[in-house]
Point group: C2
Chain length 187, copies 2
DNA sequence: ACCTGAACACCGTTCAAGT
DNA sequence: ACCTGAACACCGTTCAAGT
């Protein structure tokens, strides 16, 4: 598609992994998508594991950048938190895809170690941002902030998973609203 | 292992699918686990799809029975709700496995239709029980009960997913505690 | 009734060979 | 520098054949 094969491969691999996971990511299909032969992929990436590592790494880097943007563009603490679920909604909007790292979290047993690490960093990045935002909003105190940040992350990931399993994005919205009504997130 | 091959196959398939998903369920490995050849599996089940359908169906039937038991053995509404996360904890206790239907929910795009249906019934059964329990406990009113039941289900599934992705069962407990502290579940 | 070996079209991966 | 065809050991599945 683009002019940079390595870039095209990573982009196509990201989309495929968000729909089919690491195990379901087919090197042959991926190559066809990019317009080269499967063997050619191995010129750009030494293995499927290395490709997935690069993709997962950039996935959390992009997520970190998005979160920074939300932070900088909003000064009201509750407003920042209101935007968090939007980033997870975007995957569903994109042909019912899901978070790469949630899918790969499920595939834990079959994941190469380096991929596992990048997947965990994604969660770390999100939890750190949430903790910062929750503390700033006064939703939690210093002592419970970490646990609450993890809880919000897990709950939002769970909402995305459930909505995907029904291909129903309105269910995602219902779930997030219900989290707010229950007090997990500021209303 | 047992005396009933069909039973052994379903049990082994359930455990494998809880660890590797539908896509990661290998008919050859499964056959080896049961002590027969891969081709022999097709005497008992016409296809991988049919096997997975049977497994997923019994999975929600067993879950429904477990939930009924919790209901009958406890009369205090909050006490019943306190037991709900225990059923999802059990999978993690069992060698860091996860809910068959959460894993298959992620695999939505690659799931045969019949399997998809059974996966959805699992969620339906859990949500129906939760709604009943939440209404009985007075946590919610008739109007918000359905959404709240779905929210609890999604959040607990998300907690299990996050804990699995770190192979850390204490993280699961932390998350459930935090849900309670936030007000999603009765403390 | 229950199981099997051999075959089919797939898969990720390797590698020597092409331009 | 970038790509490829052919081969390897895998996979789910089929089927004719065994007991």
């Amino acid at each position: 598609m683009g002019t940079n094969a390595r870039e095209d491969i990573m982009e196509a691999a990201k989309k495929a992994a968000q729909a089919h996971g690491y195990g379901g990511l087919s090197m042959r299909d991926l190559a066809a998508e990019v317009g080269i032969k499967a063997a050619s992929l191995y010129y750009h990436f030494p293995s499927k594991a290395e490709l997935a590592t690069a993709v997962a790494k950039r996935y959390w880097e992009d997520a970190a950048a998005d979160l920074e943007k939300i932070w900088d563009e909003n000064s009201d603490p509750d407003e920042r938190l209101r935007f968090f679920p939007v980033t997870f909604r975007r995957a569903l909007e994109n042909e019912n895809r899901m978070c790469l790292c949630s899918f790969m979290g499920a595939e834990y047993d079959d994941l190469p170690d380096q991929v596992k690490e990048e997947v965990q960093v994604f969660a770390d990045v999100n939890v750190a941002w949430l903790k910062k935002a929750l503390l700033a909003s006064g939703t939690v105190d210093e002592e419970t902030g970490e646990a609450r940040a993890k809880a919000v992350f897990a709950a939002v990931a769970g909402a995305q998973l459930m909505a995907r399993s029904r291909a129903d994005i309105s269910l995602y919205d219902t779930l997030i609203d219900s989290y707010r009504a229950a007090g997990l997130l500021p209303a």
